[in-house]
Symmetry: C2
Subunit: 259 residues, 2 copies
DNA sequence: GAATGTGAACTCGTTCACAGCC
DNA sequence: GGCTGTGAACGAGTTCACATTC
């Protein structure tokens, strides 16, 4: 997905593959759980199972970070938690703003997984004046007018967009203009941003559509399947399928589009 | 010298690459927008721009579906909308249940992107008896006890899990036992499912962590941990942890523990 | 002339298998 | 003996570039 033109030689610094980066949070979560149970060490095999990947991949991933394991023994849980956290930048505190406090925005504001990992919801922003001042997840909602000031006062570099599709691009533009350089977009629309700004998107309906595709496949080889017709017919056979891409949680991230 | 685990004869001719499947919904959305504006045809170039991919990739993707374009002209919008919808299985009606009607579950229930694409929320299910009967998005919440009955009566094959992490696996097991074969998991946990069941996961905090990784990288690139010369992007907490060295923290691990 | 469709080259990611160390 | 770390083989996905068709 070429980030713009030939700007950066890409792999310049210590290039950790993007696929590996996307799995680090997964490992971190599994490790955190082990840490809470005071497990001192894990083998790649055990940790891989807990994270839902295979062990060769995990070892390869860790090898990009350095040699943090001990042969014959495994990995020290606490140490690895720290190393991965540091690599991901979670030893810092990241102030985040959420724009668009509808159902989804509120869900995000309440989501515990943020605070526990170095993210701090610095502000909630909504365009509806009626929302202003109302507390959501204990944080008073502020009006969009304040957006630029909030970003600057709090040194916010990460913004979350949970607005309706139509509002997303303008909001995005304002966030970027105010200094935000990373955006997590929940609105079902393609955002365009200048070079140097990262966008990740999460699209709820896309995920369902991908499931539907596979579900349809499973439902049997309905050859014709033509124009219309086909009454939804509860497909619940045990079509044990051949098409196993491994099992379980495929290491597939919901699409990235750095721009 | 067989490699050992040859499951199936390479790729079936019908096999559409997973990466392509993941982009079809993107194309579909762009096409739907064009369709609403009554645009009759698009070139791969235009459509690619609207979907946020490059045109070579788009053409390659479409080539897996068949030859639906016209050289020298482009693609017929309506026709392509139909073909992609059919390929994704969206010409059918997919009843879906959402389990866990907290903030997120409610957001999902209200999300318009589902209904508009062949997904119908057949039921909302929650473990809290106090929720039972309360309407969310116009649909009365039902108690978990009813889960199996609901799945069977409605022929549901796709389930959405929006419960807390601890409840996810048991709910998953029940869904699968009742006949669900595709699961969209929002709970921050790895689900294990039998062969033949697809799981996709959406993890909000993982996405943020990936952004943090890149954000940290940007900050280290510009200034060498200098005088906070960054635009507005200077995160809190002093950039002590630059990735220049990976010296062992020998004992004092700055635990980044969740609450 | 214009734009699709696609082999071929290339890049990225995964898996294998085993050397190296505890 | 057990487990990590990693080069090498393999496979998936992307990009190139051009023959092909309208």
């Amino acid at each position: 997905m070429a980030t713009g033109r030939t700007h950066r030689p890409a792999t310049r610094s210590r290039g950790i593959p993007e696929a590996t980066v996307a799995r680090l949070p997964l490992y971190l979560r599994a490790l955190t759980a082990l840490s809470e149970r005071s497990v001192p060490t894990v083998s790649s095999e055990e940790l891989a199972a807990a994270a839902g990947v295979n062990s060769a991949k995990l070892r390869k991933d860790f090898s990009y970070l350095g040699s943090y394991g001990t042969r014959g023994v495994g990995y020290d849980v606490e140490y690895l938690v720290y190393q991965i956290s540091r690599e991901l930048g979670l030893t810092q505190d990241w102030p985040v703003v959420i724009v668009g406090i509808g159902n989804l925005g509120a869900a995000l504001a309440n989501y515990g997984g943020f605070a526990s990992r170095g993210f701090r919801v610095a502000a909630l922003i909504d365009a509806d004046p009626a929302m202003a001042g109302k507390p959501v997840a204990g944080i008073p909602v502020q009006h969009t007018d304040e957006l630029e000031k909030i970003i600057k006062d709090n040194g916010v570099s990460i913004g979350v967009i949970a607005t309706p599709a139509g509002a997303a691009q303008p909001v995005c533009d304002r966030l970027v203009a105010a200094g935000v350089t990373s955006i997590l977009n929940f609105a079902p629309t393609v955002l365009s941003v200048p070079d140097g700004v990262d966008v990740r998107k999460v699209d709820l309906s896309i995920e369902l559509q991908i499931l539907a595709f596979h579900e349809q496949r499973k439902a049997g080889e309905e050859t014709a399947a033509g124009t219309g017709a086909l009454p939804a017919a509860a497909p619940r056979g045990t079509a044990a399928a051949d098409d196993s891409t491994d099992q379980g949680p495929d290491g597939d991230v919901p699409a990235v589009m750095p721009a």
